[in-house]
Structure formats: structure tokens, C-alpha cells
């Protein structure tokens, strides 16, 4: 196996393990740690996590494939999630999503040719009072207009 965490993440892993009475409980946080470093969770990473936690690779794969936020294939440098659930849909989410597709030249689920942005939809992101909204990497952007979206996407495709 060639995958390894950076030294800082290694020490973070040790701290994570100290929070729980057993090692299996660290599965999700450790998968996050790996994804943060690698961008997605490969089969190799699942095996690595299983090995480090002393649990089966099948278990780790079962977990990784259950949760939507673990990427099972490579994604763009930035990820954009447009919330499409009711409160956002009542406030323009469909038009906003369509606008993103046109602007980025990709369909939902796709990554721009230059690899800068992966566009996705999200189910309710708990920002209903600030609809419509989208999440860009770790940040929420709320009360969006189409002009706001242009500014945000331009910044992403340039970086």
C-alpha cells in the first residue's frame, strides 16, 4: 500500500481515536481525513482505513458507500452543491441550478473540462431561511442572486 497520511493528519488521527471507546467509531472521521487529503476515497484508501482501524475492508466500503459525501471517484478542485429542496425550490433553486449548468457547461454530477468545479445538487442544507443557497467547498452562500452565482463561479474557475 502506498497511501499515507501527512504527519499532521497522522497526529490528528491519534487524537480522533482517543475520543471513542473503540476503533470502529473512528471510521467516518478517518475517512473524512483521508478524503480531505486525497480528494476522494479510493479502494486503496478504504483498505488502508480498515487496516489502521483493525476492521474489515468490507465494513469500511459499506460505510463509505452509504454516505453521499464520500466521493467514490475523483472530483474537481472545487465542489458546488445547489440545494434543491422545497424552501429553496420555492425561491428559485431550479433556475439557479440551470444557470450553474449553463455557466459551467456541465450537467449536474459533472466536472468542468479544466477540472476546476464539480456541480451537484444537495437535499436540504438547513439554510431554508436564506434560500436560495449553495455550498461551495466548506462555505455556505445564501440569499443568492444569479449575479452572485456568476461572481462565485468565476472565482472558482479561475483558481
Amino acid at each position: 500500500m502506498t497511501f499515507a497520511l501527512t504527519p499532521e493528519r497522522e497526529s490528528h488521527l491519534a487524537e480522533i481515536l482517543s475520543r471513542y471507546p473503540n476503533r470502529m467509531a473512528a471510521t467516518i472521521p478517518v475517512l473524512h481525513l483521508c478524503q480531505e487529503q486525497n480528494g476522494w476515497v479510493s479502494e486503496e484508501i478504504m483498505e488502508w482505513v480498515a487496516h489502521r482501524l483493525g476492521i474489515s475492508a468490507a465494513h469500511v466500503k459499506g460505510v463509505a458507500t452509504f454516505y453521499t459525501l464520500f466521493n467514490k471517484e475523483p472530483v474537481g478542485r472545487h465542489q458546488v452543491w445547489v440545494c434543491r429542496t422545497l424552501s429553496c425550490a420555492l425561491n428559485g433553486a431550479d433556475a439557479l441550478l440551470h444557470h450553474c449548468e449553463k455557466r459551467l457547461g456541465v450537467h449536474v454530477g459533472g466536472t468542468t473540462k479544466d477540472g476546476s468545479v464539480t456541480l451537484r445538487t444537495a437535499e436540504c442544507l438547513a439554510a431554508c431561511g436564506q434560500a436560495p443557497m449553495m455550498q461551495v467547498d466548506r462555505d455556505y452562500h445564501e440569499n443568492l442572486t444569479l449575479a452572485d452565482v456568476d461572481t462565485i463561479l468565476d472565482r472558482l474557475t479561475r483558481s
Binding site: R19, P21, N22, M24, A25, A26, T27, I28, P29, L31, H32, L53, I55, H59, G62, V63, F66, Y67, T68, L69, F70, W81, R84, T85, L86, S87, A89, L90, N91, G92, A93, D94, A95, L96, H98, H99, A122, E123, C124, L125, A126, A127, C128, G129, Q130, A131, Q135, R138, D139, Y140, T145, L146, A147
Partner: protein
Amino acid sequence: MLRQTKYLSSRYNEPDGWSLSAYERDGGYKQAKRVLGGMTRDALIEDMKAANIRGRGGAGFAMGVKWSFMPWPPKPEKPHYLVINADEGEPGTFKDRTIMEKNPHSVVEGCIIGCYGIGAHTAYIYVRDELHLSKERLWGAINEAKAKGYLGKNPFGSDYAVEVFVHTGAGAYICGEETALLNSLEGKRGEPRLKPPFPAQAGAFGMPSTVNNLETIAIVPTALEMGGDAFSKLSELHNLKDGGSRLFGVSGHVNTPGVFEACVGLTLRELIYDLGGGVKGGKLLAVIPGGSSCPILRADDLVSAPNEKSPLFPWNGKSVLDVPLGVDTFRALGTMLGTCCAIVLSDQACPVLAMHNLMRFYRHESCGQCTPCREGSAWIFRIMDRIVAGQASIEELDRLSEIADNIMGNTICAFGEGTAMPALGFLKKFRREFEQYILTRGKSSPNRLTLPGHFAGAAE
């Protein structure tokens, strides 16, 4: 009656309102200190029972009673756990996030008191992964409290150790179901468990556990400071054992959507018109009272409760918009209070498309463990898809009801009901609109969710 309060939200607009210094300036951590300083567990639980804090996550179970279910005394080989549910993801619900971002110390203090009340030394706050700022603020608060000696081996100089950790999911609505959450905390797929055993017998890591919603635990210091009975009496529904004040949210077609803190007993009319600034773009068509799993109410619905024993009797014949928002009052209306975060639909929006939107959500979020829910939610969505595409027949409306009926009661967890009940609600309240929609292939309806001209002026 609308009576706004500021127990959780007093520092929401301050730039550093989430810091320890701001929290302590307003009397923060005094209650945790008092409890660990020698309050008996019995006295604490009695006070919490008197506070009548009904769980703020949707089920509305009495918090003090839930704490009292924990086995006592704790056995050394069976450590107890407090688990806080902050997997906020019920469509329409965005209240817990405000507490985590703007008043995280109330959660930490609530956890210290809660741990003492249930005999736990460890609390896990389960936050959905998308809420990065919330997690950051909670960890920040935990570290600040630890540095001050409020957490750790000897909080406030006592010998009652308390540790608080944040645990995150990875995108799965079902993990807001308490037993799915426990599985997720244990590093497993977030699939709900059969009950019994209930968490108080075998919860996190198989040990006795209490799972409380984040807002529920955050209001504990306030209730203790006021005294349980006084806190409960803030509520107009004190006599129904539905006490205190809580956060209300309103979103959708209102002019000033947001989260507002008020005494229990607020009505939907007050939430929509006085706090939410009134309906945007048209007249009120309908409102989903407390998150998408609660059956929808029409603006023209009237209360029918001729029986004196009904909690709704005082409002018999009146508009549903004038019934105080309470756990029992809304259950009696045939819907639920849920998370107290309402979604408002104006008459410019199409109820068929609203149901279509929500049924897509449920199909996406069903964990797939139980066949009636996995297949039923997908089947309902396929029919909704055909209705919207103008390809369905009227008979399929009965098929929808039949599928929903067959999900009810046939699944491990309440997600099944959470899908079926709003589906049945839409079909019952909007039967005529659905029939017309099918017959005219959508021409009878505004056939949109967004108000006309929502992005007017922008290059669409």
C-alpha cells in the same frame, strides 16, 4: 399569543456573541457550576420534568422523563453516554444551526448538566458534516470551556468528569433518526435499529444512552436558572405539559424568513404574518407546520374538535392558523409540530410540484433497509414524475394513497411515516387540485414553485 424571548438568541447579532466571555457576561456556566457543586440528581430531574421541555427535534417527547429512564445507579462496566442530535436536515428546518454558530456555549453547558443528570461522563454532539462553521464553533467552545476548567476530569473543581466531543456524519438525512445516528456514531452505516431495546437500555456502543436534540439541551441552563416550573409557565400550553420558549423558523414564500425565539403558544398566523412579514407574492395557500414530514395544512382549514376532551376544543370552528403551536395541539389537528419550522406556500405555487419536490427528497434519503420504504418512496416518486409529465391517470391518485398506506407501520423507523404522512396529507388536502392537474396536464395550475419574476432583471 406572540411573546418573543431572548434566552438562546440574545447574542445572535453580536459579532463575538458566540465567545466564552460573551456567554459568561450573561451569566453562562453558573448553572453547570451549581449542578456539579452539589445538586442531587433527583432534584435536577424533578426540575427538568417540571420544565416540561418537549423534545425540540420533532417527536416532542418530554426531556425530563427521558432522562429519568436511564438505569440508576450507573454500573462501572456500563458507562452512560449523552448523545446530542444536531443532524439538522429536515426540509424547512434551520434552527439548530443558529445555536451552534451563535450560541455554542449553551450547548456545552447543557451537555455538562445533561451528563450529570443521566450519569454520563461523555457527550457526543452529532453534527451533519455540511455544517462546517457549526462544528468549528462547537469545537471552539469546547476548547474554551476546557481551558477554563469547565470540562475535563474536574469541572468547576468537582470530581464529576465530563468530556464533550463533536462527531460528524457524511451526508445522510436518516442519521437524524436516533438509532441510525447511534450506528453512525459507532462508525457504521446509518441504518436505524429495531426498538426495543431503546437507547436508555442499549444505545451508543451498546451502553445506556440518552439522545437529545441540540436545541433541547441548549435550553437546559435557561430552564434551570428560572426554575423548571417558572420556565414551563412561559408557555401558553403549560397545562398541556408543553412548556417554555423555543425557536420557530419560517421559510418559503414569506417576506422576512428566519429563526425567531418565542414562548410556546405562538400561532401559525403570528409566525407567518408578524414574524415572517406576511406572504410573498399572492395569498396564503398552505403551510407545512414543522418540517416536511408534517402533513400540510390549508389556509382555509378550520378546526373540528366538538369533543370537550380534545386539546383543540377551545379552538373548535376557528382557523387552524389560530391554534397555538404545540406538540399535542398539532397532533390533534392531524399533523405534527415537528421542529417548529414552517414552510409557507403562496397561491402562486403549485401544490402538485411541492409534493413532487418532497417525494424526490424522501426517495433520495430512504436508507433502503426496509422494503416498504425503499420501494414505496421510489414508487411514489415515479408516479409523481408521471403526473408532472402529464402522463398519469386519475386512478393513480388512489394508487399513491395505497402505497403510502402500505408504508405506514411497516418499517423499522419513523422515516416510513415521515414519507407517507405528508404524501397522504397533500393528497387529502389538495385532491381537487391534483385531479385538475392530471386532467388538464398541468394547465389548471400555476405549474411552478418559484414566484413569477423571482430573478427578474437577471440574465437567465
